[in-house]
Every structure is written in C-alpha cells, then in structure tokens.
Amino acid sequence: MRLTLFLLPLYVKSRDANLLGKMFRKLDYRNTRFLILDRAFSFVKEIHKGLRDSWLVKGIEDLERLAGKGGGVAVAEIMAGLVGADVQGLDAIIVCRTYLSNYAAQRSIIVPLMLKRVRLETKNVDDPLDALRLEAFESVLYDLTTVAGRAIRTEHGEPPFTTLLGAGTVVEVARRYPEEALDIYHEFLENTGLDVEVRVRDPETGLELTLEELPGSDVQVKNLEDVNGEALIDWINENATAP
C-alpha cells in the first residue's frame, strides 16, 4: 500500500496559528476524520481557538474517540500522534510544523546535536548547519511515516492523506543537496521497508514534483500568509475525502 507524503514549500511562523485556525474551518469534516498536528502546544491551542468546533487532543483516549466518529477535526501536539497512538481510521493528517520534531521545541534541536556522530556527521556535508537541515529532512520522513503508520494497523489498511504544510526548509535543503537528499530517502525506504512516495506540491500552481524532479524546478518557497488559502483547503478536501 503506497503512502504519499505531500511536502508544501511554505514557511509557517508561530504567528500563523490563528490564520491556520480560520482556514481549517473550511475543512469538509462531515464524513472525514482530520487530525491536525504541530510541534508546539501554544500553536495547537491557538488553532483550536480559531477552529471553533474542533477537539483538543490531550491523550490517547481523545484520539480513539475521534477515530470512532463519523467525521471531525482534532488538534494535537505532534507527540500525541507520533508516540503510542495506535489509532485506526484517521482519514487525513495535516502537520503544520515538525522540523526536527521530538517533543518540545528545545528538545527538537538538542537531540540531533547530542547524537552528532550518527545524525549529523553521517550526512556527508561540510557545513554542520546544512547537516542539521538535512537531518530535519530525514526526521520529517520518519515522523510523517510514523504518524501515518500509527493510523494503519492492518496489513491492507489504507494510509491516510498525509501532508506537512511548513516544509519550506526541508524542501529547500532537498533542492540544494539533491544527491544527499535522495540518499537519505533511499536509505529511509530501505530501513522502513515501506512504499513511501514524497511529493512536493506548490499550493498555488498545483504543480507536483518528486524528489528527483525537484532540483531543476522553479518551485518557490513562500510564506503561508502569501498563498491562497482557499485553494489550499480545496486541495486538502478533495484528497482527504476521496473514496
């Protein structure tokens, strides 16, 4: 069963939470179960406020409750989706920001540093900051797959629609270091043994690219506030609610 991870070349800043909350009101959740994730609890709370009738997920039971419903939107810190939540039947997972996501923000950045030799030095680039950005790309692959994988607990289960909105940095690093990014991707496939496809999608033009096609393309990284939110939500609705 193929899992597609959609990466959107957007910068999502902390001040965008309210905007996102309002955008997500247009999600068609009559028959679809959406899980919205972000790395920071304050951001999650802000989205929840903007969204009106969403649920704020605090624990595994809340996720299970969402999965048991006909449709709905829940908002959670990414760790709720990453760790321990074996919840079947989520239709769509929208991640706002993960970057190096491992629990709290300061931990996100400290973990790859503490594992320097296995996380950064193996990246084969001279600049340690670029190694850190490539590490972010790699974490995104694993994190999104884990999140999606938690939702499929049978061999033949359908994977949920999975997208990372704030993928600006990781798209950019994959474009600047195409060989390294592809190496990381292939090693990831080998390690997980899963059929995972990565597609970079320009929310404005609708252009979709694989990692191989990315280097020569003219995909622009934009700020979230500068893109047409309606088109973005239409696209999510179309894909998340497809039979």
């Binding site: 624990g59 595994i60 760790m79 760790v83 321990g84 970057y99 491992n102 629990y103 923000a105 300061q106 931990r107 950045i109 400290i110 973990v111 540093l113 503490m114 594992l115 320097k116 030799r117 296995v118 996380r119 950064l120 193996t122 600049d127 340690p128 900051l129 850190l132 950005r133 972010a136 974490s139 694993y142 797959t145 884990t146 994988g149 938690r150 499929i152 607990r153 061999e155 289960g157 940095t169 950019e172 390690n191 997980t192 043994g193 899963l194």
Partner: protein
C-alpha cells in the same frame, strides 16, 4: 539466557505470528545465542513490534522492566498486563501515587502547633484532613498557594499544603490572618524537615507503598524512560537521608541492583530514548546574586539561545557563532568542564538557599540539578566529555536551561541511562524503534 529462549519458544507456540514477527523472534534468538546483550528491532511502524514485546514479557520467567516514552503510555501498558492477571506495577512519579502517605502533617509542624491560637489550630487540623495522606516527599507539596490555578492543576487530586490552609483560613479567620498563618506554616515547614535531606526519610516510610514496591517489586514493572533513569537516585537519596539521621535505610542501591539482576529490559519506541537524557533546569533561580545561567556563561555564551538555534532553519541568517560552535565542539567541552567543576558547589548553594529562603522552587531546582549532577558523574565515568546547553523561555518568560550529553555510541547511551554500575545487571535489553537510533549508535560503536 535460557529463560529468554524459553519465553521466545512459548510465544512462538502460543500465538499465530506474522512473518515479520517470526523474523524478529529469530533476530532475538540469534542475538542471545551470540551473547549480544542488546537487540534492536527496527521494522516499519505497524509490523507488530510492540505486540510481540508484550507477549515476550508475559511469558518471560523473570523480572521485566517495560519502559516507554511517557508516563501515560506506561499506564497503558500496565493495564494490558493487568488484564492478563500478571504480577505487575506501574512506577510513576511520587506525586502521582495519590493518597499513600503515612506521615502526618502535624509531624512537619510539631513546634509550631504549640504556639498557635486555638482558631488557627483548628484551621491546621481541618487542612490536615485533606493533606495528611498526600506524599510529603516531593517539592510540589511545599509550594506557595498558586494565584493562577491552571486547569491541569484543578484536575489533579493533590494540592500544595499552603494552598489548602489559605483556603480554609480565609473562610475561618479572614484573609489577613489566613495569610499570616500561611507565612508561619511556611517557615515551620523548613525547620528541621528531614525531607530536605532526601527521599522518604521518616520512620513511617517503612510502611509506605512506594518504598515497599522499591524493596519487593512485582515481576513486571512499567515505567517511562525517565523513571528508569531516575530510579536509582531515589534509592540513593533515601539511603543518604536515613543515614544522615543516623537511622537504618529501608532500601538501598543494593535493592535496585537486585531488581535489575537477570532482568529483561524493554525499550518500546526507543527512537525517542535519547530525549530521556535531556534535563531541564530553571536557569533563573538565584543563589546570592548569581543565577546558574550566568554562572555557566560568564561572558562566554556557553549556552545557546533557543531562538538562535531555530534561526538555523532560516536560510541566509548570519549564524556564524552556532556554526563555529558545531565545527569545533569547544563550547561543548567547556560546558562539560564547568559542570564537572562547579555543579556540586552550586547544589550546595541551593541547599543553603532552601533553608534560608524557605521556598519550594529551590527544592524543585535542587531536585533537577541533582539529577543533572548524577548524569554528569556518569558521563565522567563513561568518557562522555561534551555537553550542550540551550536556554529557552520558560513559563512567564523565565529562562529554562536544557542540558544534554553528546553521545557517541550505544554503550555510552545505555551507561548514561541505566548507570555504569548497573548496566551489566540485566540479562538482555530489547529495543523496538521506528527510526534507526539505537541501531545507528550500535553500528557506530562497531565501526
């Protein structure tokens, strides 16, 4: 090791396994036969790793420490084992044990009680009704009344003693006298309180359920990674406190050794295990004029600012300082040196401050710093000589310091987590992870 192999056979014969799980069993078998003490299962999410680990734990004829990333997940696993009618315990944070304490509140205040007016005494007695069974062995109990009670706290069963007194006092004595009473009690709480010496120091602690489970634990213990890390410090802290009082400890580090001996240690979701070694400390707590943050920095900026770290994701920003630090590693080594040479003095300073300032946030800071200090000691023994500090805004804009050791291989990680003096006790470690982390560390160690 035979017990492990028997458990694997049992699992194989009892359940219908998927092919991926068959392969995992074979991996474990091979590792055991080759004398490997750490097995890492790194199959894809959804391959049934956790399912398999729980069955192995079920049929293993010996102690199992089943560890997971968070306390709520530990409780989840605990329930699974409980449903199977196994001898199992959930080791949680002291404050999460609820009403277990045998130490009366009056014992903390004995001298003060003789000096109070009858109506004040009545308030204390009423407050005792609520507080008597709350654990007295954690800083939270001693906190000042909170002005802005957050929702999370309301859901909690336990309240700080002073908050209970203030609430009852306001009703019975009026606001002003209630506040005076709270002040008197706060002062008294820090007079000769044996808890300042360490964990579970009272005679009544011998009958405590927490101490009992440290002494004679169930066969399967479910806990978070962090709890596994800090468990031996509980034993040590208790022993030191009792010895300082000239009394026999109820448990010692030897008991912890006994718990680990021949055990099977499971790390479920071990790709997040390194985060268990991250210690957060409030960096703004002052001893005299100085804060720990300033003490560490001393003009050299050894601590990274979190916002500076996040700027790494913004291309084109000028972050030469961070780059240089990552390239040379000098800063990391300097942090380690300062920690080795100065942390113990700092903790001594905090102990004094607890007594002079009578403030629970010092108790809290001392607790976290002691944990950090133990980790620094372990890291010294293991030859880990680089540490990272990141400062980030904590609650109400107060800077929090986040510390982590730079780990080079799996031996170091396990040594830091379990302790170099204990790491040889378990019979086998089995880890399951969704992203090669322990596996990658293991390979680096081999290379």
């Amino acid at each position: 090791m035979d017990e492990i192999l028997e458990a694997l056979d049992e699992v194989r014969s009892r359940y219908r396994l998927r092919s991926s799980q068959e392969r995992m069993l074979e991996d474990i078998e091979r590792a055991v036969e080759e004398g490997d003490r750490v097995v890492v299962l790194a199959d894809r999410p959804g391959s049934g790793k956790s399912w398999l680990l729980r069955r192995i734990a079920r049929h293993y004829d010996g102690r199992v420490l089943y560890t997971v990333p968070s306390p709520s997940l530990a409780e989840d696993v605990y329930r699974t084992f409980e449903d199977w009618d196994l001898s199992v315990e959930y080791w949680r944070r002291v404050e999460d044990y609820g009403r277990v304490c045998k130490v009366g509140t009056d014992e903390l205040l004995s001298d003060l009680l003789t000096r109070l007016d009858p109506d004040e005494l009545r308030v204390i007695l009423k407050a005792s009704g609520e507080a008597d069974e709350h654990p007295k062995c954690y800083p939270w109990f001693y906190r000042k009344p909170r002005k802005d009670k957050r929702r999370d706290d309301k859901e909690r069963d336990l309240r700080p003693l002073l908050e209970i007194i203030l609430e009852i006092g306001e009703r019975e004595l009026g606001r002003e006298r209630a506040e005076e009473l709270v002040e008197k009690v706060r002062e008294a709480l820090y007079e000769d309180n044996p808890f300042l010496l360490g964990f579970a120091p009272w005679d009544e602690c011998g009958e405590c359920d927490i101490i009992r489970s440290l002494k004679e634990p169930a066969r399967i213990l479910c806990m978070s990674f962090k709890k596994l890390l800090s468990a031996p410090f509980l034993y040590a802290s208790h022993r030191r406190a009792r010895e300082a009082l000239g009394k026999e400890p109820f448990v010692t580090e030897e008991d912890w050794k006994g718990v680990l001996e021949g055990s099977l240690v499971v790390f479920d979701d071990s790709h997040v295990l390194p985060a268990a070694l991250v210690v957060e400390v409030p960096g703004y707590v002052k001893v005299g004029e100085n804060s720990l943050r300033r003490e560490l920095d001393r003009g050299e900026e050894l601590t990274f600012d979190q916002s500076l770290m996040w700027q790494i994701v913004d291309w084109g920003r000028d972050i030469r300082k961070v780059r240089r630090a990552l390239e040379t590693g000098e800063r990391f080594r300097e942090v380690y040196k300062r920690l080795v040479y100065e942390l113990e003095d700092w903790i001594e300073g905090l102990k004094e401050a607890v007594k002079s300032e009578k403030n629970a946030s010092y108790l809290d800071a001392k607790k976290n710093l002691s944990l950090l200090n133990e980790l620094v000691n372990r890291s010294e023994e293991l030859g880990v000589e680089e540490w990272i500090v990141i400062r980030s805004p904590g609650r109400r804009g107060n800077k929090t310091l986040t510390f982590a050791p730079v780990v080079e291989n799996l031996d170091q990680l396990l040594g830091l987590l379990v302790g170099p003096e204990y790491v040889d006790e378990p019979a086998l470690f089995i880890a399951a992870e969704n992203r090669p982390t322990l596996l990658a560390l293991k390979e680096v160690g081999r290379a």
